[in-house]
C-alpha cells in the first residue's frame, strides 16, 4: 500500500527549513504522498529514510524513455485506471515489426514508407513512433537488419529476440541510443539484464504466468536495472482486458511494485490484419504503453492514431480549435457565412456537416473559451458582442460579397442584438443541430 503523508512526515527532519520549496515538512510530505514531488527535493533527509521512502516515492508506473537521433518517446507515469479520474498522460508508442529474415533492401523500403507516413488530424501530424526488429536467426542477420532499418528511419527501436548474444550484435549498431530490448524470461534474465545495463537499454520482461512475472521483475531490479516493461503474453481480447487490468490495478491501487511498469502489447501476433486492428484498439483503451503492429495500411493506421489521440486527451480541458474563419469546400464570395464556437467537437460536427453537404461555405469559429454553443451562451462567452468582434477581427467582410450571417438555432435569441452590433447585416437563424445543416444549406443556396 502507498505510504501516507503522516508516515512520510515522521521520517523527515521536521525542521521546516523550506529548502524543498514548501513551507513545512508536512506540506512536503503530503505532496510526496500524492507523488507530486521527488524526495530528492529535500536535501536534508537521512539515508535511512531515503531507503524507506524510495519505494513509495517512485511513480506507480515507471517512466520509460526511448531515444534516438532527434526522437524521444516517453511511456508510463500513469496514475489512474479510468481517464476521467484525471487523465492518461503518455500516449502508447506505435512500433511496426520488421523481421531480420527479410531482404535488407526490402526492409529499408518498408521502413521508409512507414516512417514518412504522416496524417493530419485536428491540425496535428500523426506518425509512427518507431520500429521493432525481430531476430529469427544469427547475430549477423540482426545487425544487418538493424542497419537496413537505420537506412530508412531515425526513430527509436525495439529489438526482439531471446538470445542475448544475438541481440548484442544488433545493439552494437545502436550506440548512444536508448533502445528497448525484448524479452527477458525466467531462463535468460541474468544475461539479458547484463546486456540491457551495458547498453543503457530498457528491458521487456515476461513469464509463463503473472505469478512468475511478479517474482522476476524484482530480481532484475535488484541486479541494477530499473527500466522494465511488462509483457503479460496477451494473445486475445479476453486476456487483454483481464491481464492488463490486473497489472494496472495492482500497480495503482495496491502500489504493488513488481508490476509498476508500462505494458507492451503485440497485436501483430494475431496474424490477421483486421484482428490486429481490433486488438490494437483494445490495447489503446486498456493500458498498453507500447503497441507492436505488422500490417501497415494508411486507412487503418489512421484510425488507430486518432483513437490514441482521443483516449489520451485530457478530459479536464475542453479541447479547442483556433478561432478564425474556416473555408469549406472552396467557397466563393457569395457563399454563406455560418458561426459556431471553438469547442472542438462543436467545430468538428459543424465543419463535418458542411463538408459532407458538398456546399461551399465560410465557418466563423468564435472564441467562446472552448465551450459548446449552449454552454458558452449560458456562460456569457458567446454573445452578440463576441460574434461581432470576431466578424471584424477575422476580416469576414473582406472575404464575402454579401452581408449575411447564419446563427446556430440554439442562440436564435441573439439575432436582435447582433443586428445592432453589425448594422446593415442580415442575421439568419440556422438549425439547432449540425446534422440538419446540409438540408438547411440546400434550402438557402
Amino acid at each position: 500500500m502507498a505510504i501516507s503523508g503522516i508516515e512520510i512526515y515522521k521520517m523527515l527532519p521536521k525542521t521546516n527549513c523550506k529548502d524543498c520549496g514548501f513551507p513545512t515538512c508536512m506540506a512536503f510530505a503530503l505532496k510526496l504522498a500524492a507523488k507530486q514531488v521527488e524526495l530528492s527535493a529535500c536535501p536534508h533527509v537521512s539515508e535511512e529514510a531515503k531507503a524507506q521512502l524510495a519505494a513509495s516515492s517512485e511513480p506507480p508506473v515507471r517512466l520509460i524513455t526511448l531515444e534516438s537521433d532527434g526522437h524521444k518517446l516517453e511511456v508510463g507515469n500513469e496514475v489512474v485506471l479510468f481517464r476521467h479520474e484525471k487523465t492518461f498522460y503518455n500516449k502508447p508508442g506505435f512500433f511496426f515489426l520488421v523481421k531480420d529474415s527479410e531482404e535488407p533492401a526490402a526492409i529499408t523500403a518498408r521502413v521508409k514508407e512507414i516512417d514518412a507516413f504522416a496524417v493530419n488530424y485536428v491540425g496535428i501530424d500523426l506518425t509512427v513512433d518507431g520500429f521493432a526488429v525481430k531476430s529469427e536467426g544469427e547475430g549477423a542477420a540482426l545487425a544487418a537488419a538493424v542497419e537496413a532499418v537505420r537506412a530508412g528511419t531515425k526513430r527509436p527501436l525495439i529489438l526482439i529476440g531471446d538470445d542475448p548474444q544475438v541481440l548484442s550484435a544488433g545493439l552494437g549498431k545502436l550506440d548512444g541510443e536508448k533502445t528497448l530490448i525484448a524479452t527477458a524470461t525466467p531462463e535468460n534474465w541474468e544475461a539479458m539484464t547484463d546486456l540491457a545495463v551495458a547498453h543503457k537499454a530498457s528491458l521487456v520482461v515476461t513469464a509463463g504466468s503473472l505469478d512468475e512475472l511478479a517474482e522476476l521483475t524484482p530480481k532484475i531490479k535488484e541486479k541494477g536495472l530499473p527500466n522494465l516493461v511488462l509483457d503479460p503474453q496477451v494473445s486475445n481480447f479476453n486476456d487483454g482486458v483481464v491481464k492488463n487490468t490486473i497489472l494496472r490495478r495492482m500497480a495503482l491501487a495496491k502500489n504493488f511494485r513488481p508490476f509498476g511498469f508500462p505494458i507492451i502489447a503485440y497485436p501483430y501476433k494475431a496474424g490477421v490484419p483486421e484482428v490486429e486492428i481490433a486488438l490494437a484498439t483494445q490495447a489503446i483503451t486498456k493500458y498498453a504503453g507500447f503497441i507492436v503492429l505488422e500490417n501497415f495500411a494508411p486507412e487503418t493506421f489512421y484510425g488507430l492514431l486518432v483513437l490514441r489521440e482521443n483516449i489520451y486527451t485530457d478530459p479536464q480541458k475542453p479541447i479547442q480549435v483556433q478561432p478564425g474563419v474556416y473555408e469549406i469546400n472552396q467557397p466563393s464570395p457569395e457563399a454563406p457565412v455560418m458561426v459556431t464556437t471553438n469547442f472542438s467537437i462543436t467545430y468538428f460536427s459543424v465543419a463535418n456537416e458542411i463538408e459532407s453537404s458538398g456546399l461551399p461555405g465560410f465557418l466563423l469559429v468564435a472564441d467562446a473559451e472552448g465551450m459548446s454553443v449552449l454552454t458558452a451562451w449560458a456562460a456569457g462567452n458567446f454573445d452578440a458582442e463576441q460574434i461581432a468582434k470576431d466578424v471584424k477581427r477575422f476580416g469576414v467582410e473582406e472575404k464575402i460579397s454579401h452581408k449575411s450571417i447564419i446563427l446556430p438555432g440554439h442562440v436564435a435569441v441573439l439575432s436582435g442584438e447582433l443586428e445592432e452590433e453589425l448594422p446593415g447585416w442580415e442575421i439568419k437563424v440556422g438549425p439547432r443541430e449540425a446534422v440538419d445543416l446540409p438540408a438547411y444549406l440546400k434550402q438557402v443556396a
Partner: protein, 324 residues
C-alpha cells in the same frame, strides 16, 4: 507465491432487460435477446462472469435513404428498397436485433405517414424473426405521430421505442406501457442528465426492466472519448448501486461513424487516408470495440463487415481466459 487478484467489491449491478417476445410470451420473434446484468467493469472475468454478451444491431430504413454513404447502399443493394428484404438480409448478416429507423420523408420528399410507418414495421417483423427497435426521425411531433401507431401495431412484440429525450418522453413511455414495449432514453453525454432522464421515465410509470439508455457518443475522431468516459462513469455508478444508472447502454455507432467524412466519402480526401472502404469499416469497428470496452450492451452498426469483425471480438471477450 500466488498473487492475490485485485478484485473490486461492488454492491450494484446493471439491470437485466429482455428485448423481443417469442410466441410463448405473446409475440412472434424467433428468440428474445437479453442484455445487461453485469456485476463488474467490462469483462473483468476474475471478479465474475459476464452474464450476457454485448449484442449487435443492424440499422435498416423504411425507405432507401438518400443521405447514406454509397458504400452502404451498394453493400445492401436492392434490399434497401424493401424493409422486409433488408431485415432478412440483416438477419443473414448475423445481427442479434434490428433497428428500423423511420424517415422524415419518403423518397419523393413527402412527409412520412403513420400508415407507411406501420407497413414498414410489419414488413420487418415478417422479413425477420429478430427482436426489433424502432426509432422515429428525431423530431418530437413526428416521432410521436409515427411511433404510437407502430407501437399499437406491434403490440406484444416487446420492441424498443426511441428515442426518449428530456423534452419528449411522455408519449413514448405511455404507448410502451400500453403495448408491452420498451423505450430507450438518450441524454447528451452527461452522467447526471442520463440519471435525470431515467428518473423521469420511471416516474412516468415504466418499470426499469423496460428501459435502455443511450448515453450518446461521438465517433472516432469526433468525440469518442466523451462517450467512452461517460459510459465508464455510468457503469461505475451502476456498480456502486445507483439504480438510476443501471440501465443497459445502447450506442448508435453506425449513425455516428457513417456521417464522418472519413466514412461517408471516398473522393476529395487526403491521400494519407488510404483506401475508402477499409477505412470506413475500420472507423465503425474501432468505434464499436472502444465503446464495448467501456461497457456498451447494445451496439448499432450499419455495415455487415463491421458486424462480423466486432462479433469476433465479442465472442472472445465474453469467455473467461485461462490465467495460468
Amino acid at each position: 507465491m500466488a498473487l492475490e487478484l485485485p478484485k473490486d467489491k461492488w454492491s450494484g449491478s446493471v439491470q437485466e432487460v429482455v428485448i423481443g417476445a417469442t410466441a410463448a410470451d405473446g409475440g412472434t420473434r424467433t428468440a428474445a435477446v437479453t442484455v445487461g446484468g453485469e456485476t463488474t467493469m467490462p469483462f473483468v472475468h476474475f471478479e465474475a462472469e459476464t452474464p450476457n454478451r454485448p449484442v449487435l444491431a443492424l440499422e435498416i430504413k423504411d425507405f432507401r435513404p438518400n443521405d447514406w454513404s454509397t458504400l452502404l447502399l451498394d453493400v445492401w443493394g436492392e434490399a434497401t428498397n424493401d424493409p422486409g428484404a433488408w431485415a432478412k438480409a440483416a438477419e443473414e448478416a448475423g445481427a442479434d436485433l434490428l433497428l428500423l429507423s423511420l424517415s422524415l420523408t419518403d423518397p419523393e420528399g413527402n412527409p412520412n405517414t403513420p400508415e407507411a410507418a406501420v407497413k414498414a414495421a410489419k414488413a420487418v417483423l415478417e422479413g425477420s424473426g429478430l427482436p426489433l427497435m424502432v426509432y422515429g426521425p428525431g423530431q418530437a411531433e413526428v416521432d410521436n405521430e409515427l411511433l404510437v401507431p407502430v407501437a399499437n401495431a406491434c403490440q406484444g412484440e416487446r420492441i424498443v421505442l426511441g428515442i426518449c429525450e428530456d423534452k419528449n418522453y411522455r408519449t413514448l413511455v405511455a404507448t410502451a406501457m400500453a403495448n408491452g414495449h420498451l423505450v430507450v432514453g438518450r441524454a447528451p453525454m452527461d452522467v447526471n442528465l442520463s440519471k435525470q432522464l431515467n428518473i423521469l421515465i420511471k416516474d412516468a410509470g415504466l418499470p426499469l426492466d423496460r428501459v435502455l439508455m443511450d448515453p450518446t457518443t461521438g465517433a472516432l475522431g469526433y468525440g469518442i472519448e466523451y462517450g467512452f468516459s461517460v459510459m465508464e462513469r455510468l457503469r461505475l455508478a451502476a456498480l456502486r448501486g445507483d439504480a438510476m444508472t443501471q440501465s443497459p447502454m445502447s450506442v448508435n455507432v453506425g449513425f455516428e461513424t457513417w456521417k464522418t467524412k472519413e466514412s461517408k466519402v471516398g473522393d476529395d480526401v487526403p491521400e494519407t487516408w488510404g483506401d475508402w472502404e477499409e477505412r470506413a469499416i475500420s472507423w465503425e469497428t474501432i468505434t464499436a470495440i472502444t465503446l464495448i470496452e467501456a461497457g456498451a450492451d447494445i451496439v448499432i452498426l450499419r455495415h455487415p463487415e463491421s458486424l462480423k469483425r466486432v462479433r469476433a471480438a465479442i465472442d472472445n471477450l465474453i469467455t473467461a481466459p485461462e490465467l495460468s
